[in-house]
């Protein structure tokens, strides 16, 4: 059992959870993820490590409610436990001095770029972050990123905060008008967004790395469920990734494979939501409208 030391809502249906996992914390590098199993009988789900503290032996995860398992996880409160946390898994982010690195995060993908931003800054890069959300409430970790990035561009679809438009539009502006040549773009977020980011950078010929979020079971290469096509070759995201050259990734296939259990996920989610728990979630954000629920076509972002 692994103790949750802190849990708070960052945005609607987005929860920041800090867990005691000293073995993971002491080995965490940017890009790493963990597999979490919330309770007995539960699924194993991959979640990117957003932050870690070697002194307290804790790791921080940022989790969006997108189905039954994440719903159960996000109902957990401080001093409660999760059954299993294993990691750190995956290959770490390739950190080098790119000159100017631009990080593009969408939704909870912003939690993936946060540790990358710190590491890239330390390696000497100028770091710009473009972070997006549907509206002001959905833009997360802006304050935290601001401490490490040279500049942070919040973007909202509805214009309620920051740049009015998609992260890809802001990225394009940067690519066209920046005075500091961009050496690399790193992106994490919903599959359509990462795909769009890779299309924006492709004509500029800029190295672009995407953090992929396929379905996984064990996270150690044993099941092969997370296979993705990169440059026409089959790769396992858990051992070969999860970060790949975005220009070579078959995003269409990835998005399609993510829908494999869509029907079962909706049923499972309904079952969890129907179950009245003793502990009512401490937040209005946790309730989803029908429209929101049906709009969720992708799984938890790694």
């Amino acid at each position: 059992m692994y103790l949750i030391t802190e849990a708070e809502w960052l945005a609607p249906k987005v929860r920041r959870i800090t867990i005691e996992a000293p073995r993971v914390a002491s080995h965490h590098l940017p890009g790493h993820f963990v597999i979490v199993r919330v309770r007995e009988g539960g699924e194993r789900i991959p979640l990117t490590i957003a932050d870690s503290d070697r002194d307290t032996g804790t790791i921080t995860l940022v989790v969006q409610v997108v189905g039954a398992t994440t719903e159960i996880l996000c109902r957990q409160r401080a001093q409660e436990h999760v059954a299993n946390v294993v990691g750190p898994l995956g290959k770490p982010t390739e950190v080098s001095d790119y000159g100017h690195a631009v990080l593009v995060g969408g939704g909870v993908g912003t939690a993936v770029i946060y540790p990358q931003a710190i590491a890239l800054k330390e390696s000497g890069c100028k770091v710009s972050a473009v972070v997006g959300g549907r509206s002001k409430d959905y833009v997360i970790l802006e304050t935290e990123l601001s401490k490490h990035c040279d500049v942070v561009y919040p973007c909202t679809d509805d214009g309620s905060y920051g740049y009015h438009g998609f992260v890809t539009e802001k990225l394009k502006q940067l690519l066209e008008f920046t005075s500091d040549p961009i050496g690399a773009v790193l992106t994490a977020g919903p599959v359509p967004m990462m795909r769009a980011v890779s299309e924006v950078t492709r004509p500029f010929g800029i190295k672009t790395i995407a953090s992929l979020n396929p379905i996984m079971v064990d996270g150690t290469g044993m099941c092969g469920g997370c296979r993705v096509t990169v440059g026409g070759t089959m790769k396992f995201a858990c051992v070969d990734g999860p970060e790949f050259d975005a220009h070579a990734v078959d995003f269409e296939e990835l998005a399609d494979r993510l829908t494999t259990y869509h029907t079962q996920e909706i049923i499972a989610w309904d079952r969890v939501r129907g179950a009245k728990l003793n502990s009512e979630p401490d937040n209005k954000f946790c309730r989803l409208s029908e429209a929101e629920r049906s709009a969720v076509g992708v799984r938890q972002s790694v």
Binding site: G41, E43, T69, V86, G87, D218, T220, M222, Y261, R271
Partner: protein
Amino acid sequence: MQKMKPSERMKIARQIMPEREACVRASDFLEVNRGYADEPARLEAARCLQCKDATCIAGCPVGIDIPAFVDAVAANDLNLAADILLSANVLPGITGRVCPQETQCEQVCVRTKKGAPVAIGHLERFVADWARHNRKDLYEPAPPTGKKVAIVGSGPAGLTCAGELSKRGHAVTVFEALHKPGGVLVYGIPEFRLPNSVVEAEVATLSRRGVDIVPDVVIGRTYTVPELMDAEGFDAVFIANGAGLPVFQGIAGENLKGVYSANEFLTRVNLMGAYRTGETDTPVIKAGRVVVVGGGNTAMDAVRTARRLGAAPATLVYRRSREEMPARNEEVKHAEEEGVVMRLLTNPIEILGNDGGWVRGVRCIRMELGAPDDSGRRRPVPIEGSELEIPCEVFVEAIGTRANPLLTQTTPGLEVNKWGNIIIDADNMTSIPGVFAGGDIVRGGATVILAMGDGKSAAASIHAYLMNGRA
């Protein structure tokens, strides 16, 4: 019981293992074999001729004194039988169920010259089950040596090595990547062949004896092997992290929805309990029609699992003929009884998808057997123009695994062969002093009992290394 004459022993027919009826068991996950009752077990044991030069012992990878334990069963001294069995094999309830006896101990039984061999595997299971239910663990801890050994992986090789080392007084820690110990015994082999409760009981025995099993640790990621030796203070390491990554055929359509590796399909169902709908959260696609490709035990496990999830037909496609199948005879027989359709001398060449990206069938080609290849088996050759389509919604590939690179890549100086399998010397030691290896990470894909044999011999080498400084 008076000593029987060989002629009397020869008259007894091999006792049949009672099984649950095929039509019933094909729709549940309860164990197929029921195990011998007392009387058939004694009769079967009495069939053993008690050869002075018992070839069966040499046929056993862990060297069980087979005539001795069988004789104790015949004499109805099950305590003695259990003592003999457990002294050589720490996991008898497991091997009694999953060992390919027909190619090992039973193959060399003298009774095969005139009829059926002694059912050594069934008797092993009988004694192990009796001991599990009727006997307190009479184990007495050995005096501590003060030496610490780390074992990577809690599958058959790791558990056996752990048991043997703890017998000798070493402090043993087993690191398991998954949330539950057992490795392939819990994620791979299905409940209907090896119940979880048997594995749990045999693991619990090791825990009681002081073996520390730590789940959620991936060696190569959470810790590296050098870290275990330096920072964590282990005096020796035994690497038994298993076969690793599933191999795909490399044919078109493998990333369609509905294509699984056998590892993923079996893990979802066995380890994650996807067959217990409503009790567990991990989904599996329950399809009307399932095709599994492969001819080994894993392929049999997958196709019989699909059958139990409701597939009709559940079809096995294999490119050679029945004789070349590496699976245990009993598994093939059980599969056939349960209604699995066998399409032999048939090989998939393309997985077909519908507009929604789901599997709708598999295109195959008929094969014929040509000249023998390197493995000594006749090489299957495609018959031109014999393509056929088998409709299905789920396609499972059970054609083998390759070495997992997570550990080997993060262990400088560890020599591997061109397939990524760890190279060891005659004492199971790798190129790094104090680091030993065994099981599938050395052999490629093999069996539970060969892995256990490696665990046992590695334990002896590790003991010698720890006490004398060399293996």
